[in-house]
Symmetry: C2
Subunit: 336 residues, 2 copies
């Protein structure tokens, strides 16, 4: 979406203020409402509309229905000097995630690596947000989460037992954005299948299976089935690993115990995450690392281009360009 | 390959002894030769023939040609109580990897998480081997490495600038094997394209590009081009992240600086790895974690099966079954 396609733009401030107002009205303390809204809306600004304000109604509904605690006070259940388990007190995942990553960063201030596992949380938006918090402190940041709905079958299965579990890894750079991998484990987002089904169009054979667990090009059948993981059995193992990292250390829900974000709105999801940081300066002088990063990025950017391409982007670079543009021009809003 | 297809089996002991004999003859100390050979041959026993004894000739050639140091003594370049950079002294990657992961495990003995970055190493075999070392100590283990050859172009590129970088994550379980994800980032191994080219067969359109960076089904063209990452741009970002994790903290080679395992046999590769461990008991009682793992695995295994499937495997389970069978029946050897 760009300004030529849509004349409706809203400024970051206006959209944040709107969300803050709603959240305060339903019981979220003002400071928390601001933090959560900024986190949420950064996704829209980065062009990741699937994880931005489009999700706001379900977060509100879950608070109204009692499924999420608006006044949550996350607390540490167990810790060592370099690890912790944070209980999210069933708060908004955006707030729990920030608190957990900040705890990991704080524990790493003396040069240790640190990991914080989280239980009793909720959908936290984009994984990149938390990994980037670490990168801004000159730490490599890891962010893993269990998906809020099971959309994937185990390899050889025909029953939704796994989330399309996202994770992010962010690297500090000398540029004004970190290199950041942020991916879920399916070939295509389920949203794309919904669009194809509405338009009566077929889908590529590697996007989804029907309810029998076998690949289908029929979008309607696909919606009764399961999304296919990247690389087939590789992606199955990957989403399982991300899901286990996010839940097994903390006791968050996995497998049959995972709820349904949009349906069981009165029930706590017990979502889990894992955050980790590696402080660069513990491994080498920061400048030496940053030099290497610039050299590596330059190698990739100056590679010969494929036919039809005139630029190679770093992971996270397109999102950063979108963010800068949204700061300038506002966030595009679709027709209501 | 199983006993019905091939009558030539060799016992683990005989194959290890053979490799130890060769390595000793070319200057590797006996204890190191035993460690490296056991690591190498475990890959064959696990059915991962691509990373087993088939690679032995190139390891030997690199030592003979001066590209790898047979008497390496890896040493710590920098460390904190929970991190380290290990210089591999250009030794066999199998030995450097074991030493680095053991260092991470030792640093985590008091309950800390720990990460060890490695430079000046070489091809280390399977990533799973090291992650499993941690799992056997009731720690979640991470193992990342840069590939020893650049076979992948950045997304939008047409120049080999990235390895097909493998990584592994292993989880302790109550069963006699850990759950272990071990994957490289391409859709298909380059070896499969070589086979198709030899047989004059086409390849699926998502396996590789030609030299212009655009997808091709012509296996011969594909060998002049690049392997395609899983999930397209997702896999590009993933292999880049794994490569950066494996090199940027330690100063190992990345991008244009990556050598070529099979060609520049007189030159050190300066390969990099990253190993990490999360001790389960720092996060929760070990039994509680193990209970959750069993429940999670049971959820997945008991999922309704897809048409044509009668069993769902955990990642690493097939390899473990292969290992048990190889202990009993020996390792299958192809015709010479």
């Amino acid at each position: 979406m760009n300004s030529k396609e849509n004349d409706n733009f809203i400024s970051e401030t206006a959209l944040v203020n709107f969300c803050v107002g709603v959240l305060e009205k339903i019981g979220v303390p003002r400071e928390d409402a601001i933090l959560a809204s900024k986190n949420l809306i950064e996704a829209d600004m980065r062009g990741v509309y699937s994880h931005g304000v489009v999700r706001f109604p379900i977060y509100v509904k879950r608070i109204l229905d009692g499924g999420t605690n608006p006044k949550a006070k996350p607390f540490i259940e167990r810790e060592t000097r370099t690890t912790a388990v944070l209980n999210g007190d069933n708060g908004l995942g955006h707030l729990v995630g920030i608190q957990a990553m900040q705890l990991a960063i704080d524990k790493a201030k003396e040069g240790d690596c640190s990991f914080v596992a989280v239980n009793n949380s909720n959908h936290f938006g984009t994984a990149a947000y938390y990994a980037e918090m670490a990168a801004r402190q000159n730490m490599i940041g890891f962010s893993f989460t269990i998906g809020a709905i099971n959309h994937m079958a185990p390899w050889g299965g025909a029953e939704a037992m796994l989330g399309n579990n996202p994770f992010a890894i962010a690297f500090p750079t000398r540029e004004d954005f970190p290199v950041v991998l942020d991916m879920a484990c399916s070939v295509a987002a389920r949203g794309k299948i919904i669009v194809a089904a509405k338009e009566g169009k077929p889908i590529p054979p590697d996007w989804a299976t029907g309810p029998d667990g076998l690949p289908t090009t029929d979008a309607v059948e696909a919606l009764k089935g399961f999304v296919i993981p990247v690389g087939g059995p590789k992606g199955y193992a990957l989403t399982m690993a991300v899901g286990m990292l996010s839940t097994m250390l903390s006791g968050a829900a996995f497998g049959r115990d995972v709820g349904e974000l949009y349906e069981k709105t009165a029930t706590a999801q017990n979502s889990g995450h894992l955050f980790g940081v590696l402080p660069v300066a513990s491994f080498d002088d920061l400048d030496a690392y940053l030099d290497r990063m610039q050299k590596g990025m330059s190698d990739l950017r100056t590679a010969k281009k494929a036919a039809g391409f005139d630029r190679i982007y770093m992971p996270g670079e397109r999102e950063h360009i979108s963010l800068l543009s949204a700061r300038e021009a506002g966030i595009p809003i679709g027709p209501c």
